[in-house]
């Protein structure tokens, strides 16, 4: 521990840089006991600042990755030499945001892109049709890719926090998008279409060699059953289904539900 302590400005700029580059990062702050207000910025393989006690820094640095993986922030007590009461440290995590990958730059995709941005998703819109896949139509999207699904999938890495919405209503776009994503670790794959369309679609996916398990991953017709009729309502229905899936919920009405209102189902169980 030599050299000058980094300034708050430096810590803030490193935090903002990590957020911009989608680097997992955590900020620990002493909130009770000890050196209240002291901060430690925890980056992969590196820390900045300090909480006023080197073993405390190390203990907090050790705890941060698990909280990041669970997308949780919390205040934890630590025993620190010279302090009779535990020192409480708030560990705030900034896991990289989820990505919503939309195939089909159609009307529904416009409110979907806008609402998903407001929910904190990185949004990518893909369509081979140059008239539809434009930045003007999708000013909120992080990326608009004019290309076929296989071209898009060659450019975009599908991660466990990637959510896929397939909206083009046209088998020549929808099916390559489904075939290209059902075998990936994507968290969610939803496809628009009527019940009849989806029966045909499931049969054709099987003929194309997709396994029953892969086909069963597809959420189709896409969205929650809220009677959505307009593009905006359909976007809400799709995002409702995605939020419910992220939290392990069914998406019913809270009036009929029991237990905790917010958060993941396992937290609800643990809290009882």
């Amino acid at each position: 521990m030599t050299g000058l302590a980094p300034s708050r400005v430096e810590m803030q700029s490193r935090l903002e840089q990590a957020l911009a580059t989608r680097t997992p990062v955590a900020v620990a702050t002493v909130v009770r006991g000890g050196q209240v207000g002291a901060k430690l910025l925890i980056l992969p393989g590196e820390t900045l600042g300090g909480l006023g006690d080197a073993p405390l820094d190390l203990a907090v640095q050790t705890d941060a990755p698990d909280l990041l993986a669970r997308e949780r922030s919390e205040t934890r007590p630590y025993h620190v030499a010279g302090h009779p009461e535990p020192v409480e440290v708030f560990i705030e995590t900034f896991p990289p945001p989820p990505t919503l990958l939309i195939f089909g730059a159609v009307h529904v995709a416009q409110p979907l892109s806008r609402f998903a941005k407001a929910l904190g998703f990185d949004v990518i819109v893909s369509d081979a049709r140059a008239k539809l896949a434009t930045v003007e139509r999708f000013p909120d999207a992080d990326r608009v890719i004019q290309g076929w699904p296989d071209e898009t999938l060659a450019e975009v890495e599908i991660l466990p926090n990637t959510y896929v919405a397939i909206l083009s209503h046209d088998p020549k776009f929808d099916e390559p998008a489904l075939i290209g994503t059902l075998g990936t670790p994507a968290a969610y794959i939803g496809a628009i279409g009527s019940r009849n369309t989806n029966e045909d679609r499931r049969r054709r996916l099987a003929e194309a060699g997709m396994s029953p398990e892969q086909i069963a991953r597809m959420r189709a017709p896409i969205g929650l059953d809220i009677g959505a009729a307009t593009p905006e309502e359909m976007a809400i229905s799709i995002l409702g289904e995605i939020i419910a899936l992220r939290r392990g919920r069914d998406g019913g009405s809270l009036t009929a539900a029991t237990g905790r209102i917010r958060g993941a189902r396992e937290e609800a169980v643990a809290a009882r």
């Binding site: 708050r8 400005v9 903002e16 702050t29 909130v31 009770r32 949780r72 919390e74 205040t75 705030e92």
Partner: protein, 104 residues
């Protein structure tokens, strides 16, 4: 915290001092989760929230004091006999809010 960064940057650029309040602990049922933040400027601006509206006014006043003293502060809000009709949480939970100045 990410959601209030644009406001914090704008207020600081305009020459205001800024305090940030963060929900650091929740017990029982509370309207906003751990990590919810609210920013307050010395010019009287307010962005974000730490509850559903129940304690924002009280936190605003605490933040002004933190800006005057420069000392961060941990405040606990919950339903107590004397607070039930004052700045208590309508939903019956307890929250702890850490208020700190944004410093150089």
């Amino acid at each position: 915290m990410k959601d209030i960064l644009p406001e914090v940057d704008a207020w600081r650029t305009a020459g205001s001092r800024v305090a940030i309040a963060t929900v650091v602990k929740v017990e029982g049922s509370a309207p906003r989760p751990v990590g919810a933040t609210m920013a307050v400027s010395s010019a009287g601006d307010l962005a974000g929230s730490v509850s559903g509206g129940c304690v924002e006014t009280a936190v605003f006043e605490e933040a002004q004091e933190v800006l005057r003293t420069g000392q961060p502060k941990l405040i606990r809000y919950g339903i107590t006999d004397e607070m039930a009709w004052d700045v208590g949480l309508a939903c019956g939970g307890t929250i702890e809010v850490f208020v700190e100045p944004v410093t150089e």
